[in-house]
């Protein structure tokens, strides 16, 4: 029974890993690619880790898999946030098909005043001039 569950988890995790790679290769801009890499990649690795814990139910295996899953779930959002913020501030272009692209560009170029909560950007609010 545990072998069946483990095999299904291995297949699911590997499929998610493949989908993450294809998403990074095929999506249009940095932010879409990050969406594929971070979420699908983390889910795929997490499923494979659970599969390893199911197939080899020993203390040492379970402890390491739990550590890996916890660390991935803690660090993947932080890393994605840092890369996304850096790409945004460097003016990485957005591709077509994004609703509200003009609004996004105006925000980035400072024509719309500061983004709420972004006190570090150095953009001054000219809406009252």
């Amino acid at each position: 029974m545990s072998e069946l569950i483990g095999s299904v988890l291995v297949l699911l995790g590997a499929a998610f890993a493949a989908v993450a790679g294809l998403g990074v290769l095929r999506f249009g801009d940095v932010f879409l690619r990050m969406h594929a890499a971070t979420k699908a990649g983390t889910l795929g690795v997490g499923l494979l880790a659970i599969a390893a814990a199911v197939m080899m139910p020993a203390d040492t295996v379970i402890a390491r898999t739990v550590l890996v899953i916890a660390f991935l779930l803690l660090t993947a959002p932080v890393a994605a946030h840092l890369v996304g913020r850096a790409a945004w501030r460097n003016g990485t272009p957005l591709t077509g098909g994004v609703d509200g692209k003009d609004v996004v560009d105006e925000w980035r170029d400072g024509r719309r005043g500061p983004i709420a909560g972004d006190t570090r950007s150095g953009v001054t609010d000219h809406s009252t001039d």
């Binding site: 069946l4 291995v10 890993a17 795929g44 197939m55 660390f71 991935l72 890393a79 170029d109």
Partner: protein, 111 residues
Amino acid sequence: MLTTVLPIAFVLVGIGLLAAVCRLVIGPSRADRVVALDLVTVLLIAVSFLVTLHSGRIAFLDLALVLALVGFLATVAFARYLETEPEPKGNGPRHRQVIDGENQGRVNIDE
């Protein structure tokens, strides 16, 4: 059951790795490459789990743990580099004055 599933899983993760390496090579921006490198690290963790299941050796789980730790540090370091250094050539930052507004001490390469 697992002996039939594991080769398929290896091929699937290999497809993901190949696609990520392709994105790493073709770019075009540095942020794309950082994202691709992050995904390569994550997929290598997946490969180490598959090797653990294939060989039954627990030592590969330590490899997965260390890769998870080091990959995060590498991504954070690359993100800091992305944020502080402008794009080397071609399409540079579109609003460099906004970036430089908060970094008075940094060298502005346009002046």
